[in-house]
Every structure is written in C-alpha cells, then in structure tokens.
Symmetry: C2
Subunit: 246 residues, 2 copies
C-alpha cells in the first residue's frame, strides 16, 4: 500500500531480481508487516513480465515466510517477522569424511525390549511395542564425536531384530532397509552425565548439544534417536538471504 516503484538491478534471473526487489522493500521497512503488496497482475503490468515469473518470485518469498498469500485478498508482508535458517543434518560418516578424518564406529550396547515408559507416555511408541535399543558412538580419527541412543520399532522393521549392529551404524542400516517418509527434529542442550562423559571423553557436566529425531514411515514411528555431540562442537546453520533464492 505504498509506492510500488520496484527497482530491478538487472543481475541474474528475472524472478530473482523481483524477489530481491520485494525483499528489499520488506527488510528496509518501506513495506511494513501487514501491508498488502501489489497483486500478481499489477506486478506483471508494472514490470512487463509474465505472471509465472512474478508467481515464482512471490512463491519463494512465501516459502521463506516473508510474505503471506491469501486468495482473493492478496499478498501481505508477514506480521510475524522471523528468520529462517536451513539446518542440514548430514550422516555422521559423511561429515567425518568431509573433514578429512577417518571414521570409526563402536557399538556400546544392543538389546531387544518393550518400549520404555518415557517413550510410550510421550506417544512416540504404543504401549508394549517390541523395540531394539541401541547405544553406540562415532569417532573421527579415534576421537568420539557423537554418541547415539536409538530405538527401532520392530513391528515396522522386523529385520532389525536379526542385525547385530556391531559393524554397521544403525543409521546407515536403516537408510538401506527402510523407506522413510517424514522426520521431525528437536534440538536442545544437556549436561553430560558420567556415562555420557566417559563415552564422549569429556568432563562430567560439560554442556552437550543434542538432536532428537523421530522418523516416520507412513503413519508409524520407525525410529527415535538421540544424537549427542560434545558441546565444543558448533553446528553450523546455513545462511539466510531474504534477497536470494529460498
């Protein structure tokens, strides 16, 4: 609802120029949260472009949460201004290899049991479900870099009962044997208890970063895992550039 003199810089694809120009309006607060931005049709005539091109720019702004789009009403600058950051969680084997180090794997324990109460009461697994509980650690040049504590749903993955997991990390094994359809993550800090400290070769009570991942296949939780990293490890999150592609 202000002047819509979008300035394209002529650099790169047209839809990125449009995205950049609009993102600039928003980050510079010329278009403020809640403001309606021009309709696709208006931008088409203003910028002398086709609607698909304008649409591609607006879609990507919507994907990144900078704008909100509503049929019949129009597109609006998002009221909840937030920053998105793409968090990429690579397989630890790849990560260690990318560091130029030698990957190592050690199984700590592996046994079949009923799903424990803390997981059933959190509605992660149904009560009485048979699961495998695996604890293991991952090393880079012999130094522990990750402690893994994982439960695998035996109803969904019966083959896991016959796998010893003493050579193959459970993550890799699962990737090979189970098609997953969805994953959900939580990330938080924990203090190392004595056992964790010993496994990771760190001091007791040292702060560690923990990623919790729940993986589904269809509507069933296939596996639930804690990945605990020593606290000195920084997990880098990707850059976010509102002016660039999403």
């Amino acid at each position: 609802m202000t002047d819509l003199a979008l300035q394209l810089d002529g650099d790169g694809p047209l839809y990125e120029q449009i995205r950049r120009a609009i993102a600039l309006k928003i980050t510079s607060r010329q278009w403020r949260p809640g403001d309606r931005i021009p309709f696709e049709s208006e931008l088409c005539t203003t910028l002398q472009t086709s609607r698909m091109t304008v649409n591609k720019a607006l879609q990507s702004l919507a994907d990144d949460g900078l704008i909100v789009r509503r049929r019949k009403a129009g597109s609006f600058v998002a009221t909840q201004q937030s920053v998105q950051a793409p968090l990429t969680i690579a397989k630890i084997e790849d990560e260690v290899a990318a560091d130029g180090k030698t990957y190592g794997y050690e199984l700590v324990s592996c046994k079949a049991l009923k799903a424990p109460g803390k997981l059933t009461s959190a509605h992660i697994f149904p009560r009485g479900l048979d699961v495998v509980h695996i604890q293991c650690r991952h090393l880079a040049d012999g130094v522990p870099v990750l402690f893994e504590d994982r439960y695998i749903n035996l109803k969904a993955v019966p083959a896991a009962a016959d796998e010893p997991f003493n050579e193959t990390p459970p993550g890799s094994w699962l990737l090979e044997h189970v098609p997953w359809t969805e994953a959900e993550h939580a990330i938080y800090a924990v203090s190392a208890d004595p056992r964790l400290a010993e496994h990771l070769h760190i001091a007791v009570a040292e702060a560690c970063l923990r990623i919790e991942r729940r993986t589904w296949a269809d509507d069933e939780t296939v596996t639930f895992v804690h990945l605990t990293y020593p606290g000195n490890r920084r997990t880098l999150v990707g850059r976010f550039q509102p002016g660039q592609r999403g």
Copy 2:
C-alpha cells in the same frame, strides 16, 4: 537407470504427485545415490505433462538436496544423503506472546566501546571499530527465557549510539532501523557461568542452548549477537517430508 514406472497417486497438485513419486523411489532405494533419474523430457512424455510441471517437481527435490542437477548430464540422486530441516527463529516477543504469556524486557548493561579482540580476530568486526555492547534479558510472565549479548556496528548504525535500549529490545529496534540483507547462524551448547546463571535463574554449570547470529547489510556486519536459552528449553525444528513440498 532403472525402471521408471512412476506411480502418481492422484492426490493434490500434479507437481507434488511427481515429487512424491520420485522421493519414494529415492527413500525406498529403488533409485540409489548416484543413479541418474529420467530426463525432464522423458518424464514429460511418460507422465503426459508439460515440462514446467516436471521442472517444478525436480527443482524442489534439488532445493531439498535429494537430487543434484547438471546441465547436459541430467539429474542424479544425491550421493550425500542428508536431512534438511527448516529452523525458524522467531522474535522472542512473538514467541512469548504465542505462548499466551506476558513479555518482559530488562536492560542489563549498555555501553559504547571499541570492538573487542575476540570479535576482531574472528574477522567479525574490523579492528578499532566503534560498537555498542548491550546485555539484556527477556522474560515470560516474569521468568527469564533468554539472555542476549549483542554488539552493534556504530559505523553502520550511528543512530544506535543515541538509543538507550532501556525500553526497546535491541533486536526490535534494529529491525525498525536497519535493512539487513543476510544472516548467518551457529548453534551450540554452553555451560552457564555464574553470571549467566543468575540472569537466567538457573543453576551454575547448567547446560544452555546458544544461537549465535551475525547479520549483514550489504558487505558489512551490522550486528553480532549471542542468544542464550535455558537448557530445558527445546527448540523445535520443522518437519521434513521428502514426499512433500520443499
């Protein structure tokens, strides 16, 4: 390079069906890392659709890292299988409000100085730069939920020198006054030192989650901030569904 009998499920937009069908081939390992997937032109004839629709599906798979695309060569299943997760960092005010609690802000300290050595040697700020150093905390219903430790580049934002920051949180103030173009984050765990423990009302040495954010405007770092959350706080990361939109 396998059979390309893609099964569309007829549910939702065509490009999502195509994306889902290809994602299933990949997660089920029928198409394995490194395999070439059908060309856009092949998919067009196989699926009887236009190229733009196929392209939209493949683009979104590439955005999420499931496939890699190379001109003249084709599209390939990514060799580095990793999981993407969109990490959304909302303004703390909004987050507290969304929780149905009352937001509170308290300035701890605010003073102008030269950029400290730890930031200049990390090439975050140039040596001798004038900055404002702000420490403050954010409360939900009177309970501390975030401690903020921020530096603002006075060369890029001279107006920050005249702002007392005793009413307005620096994050909000900056959003209002500075157009930013890029942000980079790192996330890691820290142990609460006595001062932090006091500010957050937690025990000394308790594990805390810290988000480090560096924000640019053009090619200059505008602000650098540590956001430290009590460790019991879980930061939820978005879901990732390879079969769904990116």
